[in-house]
Structure formats: C-alpha cells, structure tokens
Subunit: 170 residues, 2 copies
Amino acid sequence: MSTARERIVDALERVLIEEGPAAATLEHVAEGAGVSKGGLLYHFGSKEALFEGLLGRLTDSSQDPAPATDARGAITEYLRLSMVADDAFSTTLLAALRLVGAPGVDVPAALSAASEQWFEQVRPHIADPVTARLIQLVGDGLYLNALISAPASPHDDAVIARLLGEVEPH
Amino acid sequence: MSTARERIVDALERVLIEEGPAAATLEHVAEGAGVSKGGLLYHFGSKEALFEGLLGRLTDSSQDPAPATDARGAITEYLRLSMVADDAFSTTLLAALRLVGAPGVDVPAALSAASEQWFEQVRPHIADPVTARLIQLVGDGLYLNALISAPASPHDDAVIARLLGEVEPH
DNA sequence: GTCTATAATCGGATAGAC
DNA sequence: GTCTATCCGATTATAGAC
C-alpha cells in the first residue's frame, strides 16, 4: 500500500501532465490524491515543498540501477524509453519538465542532474564520447517530442538502428 | 519603431524565459512593456489572447525564408541555432516551450507545426529520410538542453561535424 | 493524520475618464 | 490608445477541532 505522500506526488504528476502547471493547485492535487487541502499541507507544508517532493522523486528514480545488459540492450532500452515515455522515470521527468520556471525551486538543476545520472547507465557501454553524446542528444530530442505530444516519426526505429550500428560497426 | 503589440510580446518572451510562467501576469508583462494593465488589455483582450499572440509570432517566424545555401551550410546553421539559441526564432520557441500546458491555448500544436516548418528549410538538402530525422532529433535535443539551461557538451561540435559527414560521405 | 473553517493576498477582467 | 479604479473569483496558508 502506498503512503499518502506517494499518492500526492502521483497526483501531482498526473495533473501536471494532463492539465498543466496552472491546474496544479493545492486543492486540485489534493482532490486527485483523495485527501483534503489541509491533509496535503500536513505532508507538504507549502506548494514549494510539494514541488520539491516531485524533484526528489526525480532524483531518486534517476538512480535506479539499470538491468545491466550488453551495449545494444542498454542503448535500445535508453532510447526506447525516451520514445514511448510510459515508464515511471519518464513520467516523473515529463511532469518535472512542465515545472520549468516555477518559483522557489531549481527545476533545471534537478532535471540536468537526473538526466545525466540516467544516461550514466548507458555511457559505460559506449567507447567513443562523441557517439555517446550523439545518443544522449537523440534521447533528449525524443523527450522534447513527448513533451509537446508530437507523433513519433516513422523513421525513429531506423534512427535507433543506425545508432546501434555505430557502436558495433560492420 | 516597434508597435505596442510587439513590445508586449517581447516583454512576455522575456518574462517567460527569465522568470517563468507564474511570473507572466498581465500586470507584470505590461510593466515590462512600459504600459499599464489596461493598456495591455486593449491590445490583447485576455490572457489567452496574449498567449496566442506569442504563438502567432512563433508561426510567423518559423516561416522566415532560409538564407538558402548548400547542404552543409543549411545543416550547420540549423544545429548551431539550436545550440546557441540566441536568435529571434529560438527565443520565441523557448518562451513557447515554457507555456506548454497553459489553459485555453494549444501550445503543443503550435510548437509541432513551427518546428516542422523550421526544419523544412533543411530537409530538401538531405536525401536520406533517416539521416534527416536524426538531424532533426539532435536539434530537438539541443533545444531541450537550452530549455533546462544545461551547459553545452564539449563534444557538441564533433557531433555536428559527424552529422555533416553523413550527408557528404567520404 | 486528516478535516473544516477562515484569513489574507493576488490575478484577471470590466467600466469609464482622458 | 492608454490610464486609473474597482470588482470578483481563485489560491495559498493558518488555526484549531476531531
């Protein structure tokens, strides 16, 4: 059974992604979590603290250990998660992206650190640093597309295949 | 001399990028443009209309004709603008990115359309559609990095150089 | 730990003078 | 075209009961 704190952050993510930052009021988030505004404020003493709760989750889940496989597996998983963006980490990340510019919390710093941490799970598998950066940027590009709900391109799979070819030439 | 409407949208962009969406109140934007709240509301009848003013500018500037050069030149310019993000189009685009999720305006649709329009200036120079999509995704990745104020990687130049090599092999 | 008031502030929008 | 004054709803946060 999940704690009230977790349910509240879950609700915050949902509201941010589905209804936007303006809808992320204390009352509305509380309602989504099945508690009252007062109940929410017991767990998070202010709106700022609530947002920091989300950033804390972002930091935590970016440190989740990778299923540690071979290079192809790691890279495929990295890019495919950026593409479909339906796992826990992607959800938290996309929610945090909608918080960029919120007052009192340093969202960019948390996002930079988290995405860097997350990419550290693939980097060891790639010898060439330029190839590594290329793959990271493509992952970031896929997240930007998810942020603006852009449809996937029919060539995305081929792009991933080509990148895989670059780590295991010929 | 710029019109009042233009100065107001200029101020909106500045506030969105430097202080975030929450600071983009009618009064604060009006102050940045050197007019009163009432003055702003004469030009844009509501906050929604103000935001649509920004999206309109995004649509317009994404149709600016490219300086039409060769493939290398077009692609270099495309990626370098995404990287430094200090031109008019990038400023408008980064401001609009902070508006994602705002009520009453379809920011994702405007952003998708604009970024697609913008990329149309390079696509004709690239024969292979997979390479084209790869370059587009890298450009998007660079914009995401600009959105979260992430420092440029020392390998970004090499990434661009490699992509240029893919359109003119050997 | 969770709830129901209530206080205090802020933001969007209207009306009307100039 | 631009301003000031004002209204009204929404939102954050506090106080205190249960």
